[in-house]
Symmetry: C2
Subunit: 94 residues, 2 copies
């Protein structure tokens, strides 16, 4: 009945990050911070976890002289997100 929910995605901030990434080609740290209202520390940690899991790809570049961390969802991340949503349906169907 209730399949387990991917713990990597069942987290408010990581889910918000992934939600943004599924519908954007590539976004930077700053943008994610704005959109999620997360603290830099929290965002940094959660990005690392998603990256370590292979759900996103992180590229460190420079935008002018300022460092710029770019995030992009991977196919694995996309699949995981879709699975998570499907699984979640069983929990929230009224």
């Amino acid at each position: 009945m209730f399949k387990p929910l991917d713990p990597l995605l069942h987290s408010e901030l990581r889910l918000a990050i992934m939600s943004i990434l599924v519908s954007s080609a590539e976004v930077d740290f700053r943008y994610l911070k704005e959109q999620t209202n997360a603290t830099s520390g929290n965002l940094s940690v959660q990005i690392d976890k998603l990256n370590a899991a292979g759900y996103i790809e992180v590229t460190k570049t420079f935008k002018g002289k300022m460092p710029c961390t770019l995030c992009k969802i991977t196919q694995k991340g996309l699949d995981a997100f879709e699975d998570y949503v499907k699984t979640l349906q069983d929990y929230i169907r009224l």
Copy 2:
């Protein structure tokens, strides 16, 4: 964009419990344990939290000679669940 998710509901086991309760008049501890595959300890703790929040009502009775803990969703719990689902939609809409 991303409203906060009620932390009381954004928990795998508590969400499963609530999911069962929204579509049942009243269920007992045993049934919840079966359906969720949770350990007794975890279930007990999470039921307490939902009860403390006023999301469910817990009645301790006896079924024959054996103790029987009945759980029933409250109006407050129902509202919270619906709100949670609405909020979640913004996170998972592909």
